[in-house]
Amino acid sequence: MLSPRWRKVLRDVWLHKARTVLVVAAIAVGIVGAGAVLDTWSLVRRVTTAEFDASLPASATLLTDSIDQALLVRVRAMPALADAQARRTVTASVRTRNGSQAAMLFATDDFARNRVGVLKPEQGEWPPRDGSIVIESSSVEYSAVQLGDSLSTQFGDRDAAALRVSGITRDVGLAPGWMEHIVYAFVTQATLRQLGAPASLNELQILVKNRSMNREAVRRVAADVKSLVESTGRAVSDVAVPEPGRHVHAAQIGSLLFTQGAFGVLALLLSGILVVNLISAMLAGQLREIGIMKAIGARPAQIAAMYLAVALVLGLVASAIAIPIAAVIGRWYAQFTADLLNFDISGFAIPSSVILLQLGVGALLPVVAATIPVVKGSRIGVNDALRDLGISFTAGTSGAWLSKTGSIARPFLLSLRNAFRRRQRMALTLVTLSTGGAVYLGAVNLRAAIVASVDMLFAVQPFDMSVRLAEPHAPDSVEAVVRGVAGVARAEAWAGARAILRRNDGSVGDAFPIAAPPAATTLLVPRIVDGRWMLPSDTNALVVNRRLLSEEPTMMVGSRVTLLIAGMASEWTVVGAVETGPSLAAYAARETIAPMVGSGRVSAVVVSGSVNGAAADFELLQRLRSSLADAGFPIQSGQLMTQQRSVIEDHLLMVAGFLGSMSLLMIVVGGLGLASTMSLAVLERTREIGVMRAIGARHRSIVAIVQIEGLVIALLSWLVALPLSLPMSVILGRAFGRVMLEVPVILVPETSGVLVWLAVVVGVSVVACAWPAFRAMRVPVARALAYE
């Protein structure tokens, strides 16, 4: 049987249900925030580690000429390799319910012998048969195709072929198709031939034996393979060595989860502050009873144990509510995050250690938060406790200046004074609300910075579309045809190549693309961050972008570097560095690159239209297709810059959206904080309210006093959030720069963001104060005056 003191504890908790619910809600929100991120992190980590490892991702991929069985046998026999396989990747287009979409078709030497980058069949047939196509899982929704559909597939300007969608399979090594705006699919070499596409295998995927090798060691193995391939008379145009064991987007997702985890912990801390507020108020309401208990012999430790036990029980109740909610949100968010990485979390459970951790934190957070107020409250002298009259007000600074403002109505004046009566509690409420505001405004600034960055990226390439030719042709001939098409304002034929840096120690870096417009281009004007842009008089001059420079710091402006282009080494001088976005890129003159890779011919054209608008652009692209085909320059693919922009923006703004969503959590915590503050204010002032009602205050006056007091705090938090958003913008901007793309830090929030936040805090205040105001209005005068 429970002893009387524990019965008192339970009955007090039950008696003050509203306050109990607030405390539980405060703790629960913190646990939901931090727990959901923790669940997501643990699930994503578990899935990516297990699934990605199980897929045996290629340690390196080499691009070369036609790979035959004899070469594969020799490569597979290399002692450092566990396996090798060959495939061909072809860019095509498919016509779906969503219109014409870019497609990437993969064909391998033997789908049945898929031992590198193992694919995971999900539905239908595997492997694809001749004349059928298997869609990669992440492209299914984007392409809106279903099993059994007939998919019109076209390579370049060849005749389209109807391929039956016979299966769905997942390739965890690919970035999701929906994100890349590409339909990934698998076909046989015979199907490629049916489409008129080159079918010979040209990608050599290798898997090293020792999977604990670091990137440099894998690079050395890849260099050996490259030598072997070259010894057969083939040229190796590209060697890509990804970070071993890490998914292509793992760093971004890791940083993203870390940043969100930080906000989850922040939400937990803010809910801890809320608990401090609530427990302090609970103790304030219990002071007289504490005094009585001490008078009849209770020791401070016994009193403290009673209230800490309350905190523990409330923490356990909150955990019981929050942990399942966090698991649901965490699972949903983990699937969302896994989608970004092209994984499926089905069949994976949240680790029990993570659930136990949440339970531990949930149970102990309120105990830790309550310790100081409980110890302080339990040590109060008996006389002081018995004499406690509730809230008091000494005419201090706030009272003095407010009294002098004679034009303010009394009820409003009372609200203003009330707001400042419990300054510590008000400060804690301000902290929670204004932190939410700062995160929100920081996210708004980040979004604006991203849009500005994307604007900048596209402003430096003022063309509307790019066209890739099926075969290379002389640039002057191509430009002449294109410029003759109605609606073309400017056009330039660009060359392009993939290059590999050969470092001084003989090792090679990752392949990167070189875009090669004419030296006197007007359709590429990037922002120079160091050095200069290329000049027509330059010889082998290279301009690198900042991303490439950060990957390969030796490619600084003024340095001489050796590049492997189309298997040939050449010396280059880095003359400038530019800002062109998150991908590795370099720029050189067409006049220099074209002779190296295509005997002076080019296979890309960029075009600026004379009429703006998506419809006009689309029509122009169609005209270009037909005019170029008529002139004997069939095109392989065409892309509108608006499409490309949406791909980049989708990637970048999604991250900003995630960060912004964390502010919602803070708003909930802040709203609960305000609701608790106002509930406690009403509770503490029940007697005052009774007096006001006794002397004639109407219901609406009482409600207005409470609501205005809440609004005063909310507006103060809005004001505090404005300067607080400056460091938050810097933090978010830098975090984003590390994860995705360096963006300019925007410190001054957009007016619309500031106004939206104002509306949000006013709304939160009105909602948070509604119940306390209602309670204040409903308190009977007699009971209010008798309240102790």
């Binding site: 049987m1 002893s3 009387p4 003191r5 019965r7 008192k8 009955r11 007090d12 008696l15 007289r288 009873e289 009585i292 208990m293 001490k294 008078a295 009849i296 012999g297 209770a298 020791r299 401070p300 430790a301 016994q302 040590r379 002298g381 008996v382 006389n383 018995l386």
Partner: protein, 225 residues
């Protein structure tokens, strides 16, 4: 039983320090029923607070049952209070979320004086002795003032304290109930319980073995029955 030796208690105030008790010395024997009277501000409640160990003198010594109360630490003072004194307040001060019996059991719970399975029986026996056994399982808010004060007395006696201290126990009762309460305290004294009561009730002096009158923090008279 109780010895106060040159006790002074001063409180700080905005208009300068206020002396509630000034150089008070007195002694009270076991089983005495002492009534302390005086006007408001005379120092009656301060005296009781010092005897109960809920306040400390600014100077002088307070000894109760051989224990130098003012020298005890806060923790020791709480323990001592639970065992050695029972306090009855003017406003009853029963815990509103506990029943009468639970209120009486609470001091036993804190002091662990009786085995837990015996506490309810003892509480019931005390409530019966004070005539409110039928109210044992009711919450204080459902009891009359007199009933609440009887429960409060039962609670004060829970740990069989050597001294019962009552601070205006009849101040919140009607005259008839107040009279009954005074008689109850008188009977307790007759049964050997040391009782010190602060009151304004003139009738109380009739029942007391000694009346101490305070004025301006000093003992101005002592009357033995």
């Amino acid at each position: 039983m109780i010895v106060l030796d040159r006790v002074t208690k001063t409180y700080p105030g905005t208009a300068g320090p206020f002396t509630a008790l000034a150089d008070v010395s007195l002694s009270i024997s076991s089983a005495e029923f002492v009534v302390v009277v005086g006007q408001s501000g005379s120092g009656k409640s301060t005296l009781l607070s010092l005897l109960a160990g809920i306040d400390r003198p600014s100077s002088g010594a307070v000894q109760v049952g051989g224990t130098r109360v003012d020298a005890l630490s806060e923790r020791a003072m709480s323990e001592w209070r639970g065992m050695a004194v029972g306090i009855v307040f003017q406003f009853f001060q029963l815990l509103p979320t506990l029943t009468s019996a639970e209120n009486v059991m609470l001091p036993m719970d804190f002091a662990r004086t009786w085995p837990s399975r015996e506490r309810r029986d003892r509480a019931m026996s005390l409530l019966a002795r004070l005539g409110v056994a039928d109210q044992a399982d009711k919450l204080p808010s459902t009891l009359s003032g007199g009933q609440q004060q009887r429960v409060a007395v039962a609670r004060a006696l829970a740990n069989a304290p050597s001294v019962l201290l009552a601070d205006e126990p009849t101040g919140n009762l009607d005259s008839k109930t107040a009279q009954s309460m005074l008689e109850l305290l008188g009977s307790l004294a007759q049964e050997g319980q040391t009782v010190v009561m602060v009151t304004h009730e003139r009738d109380a002096q009739r029942l007391a073995s000694r009346t101490i009158q305070l004025a301006d923090g000093r003992v101005v008279s002592e009357t033995h029955a």
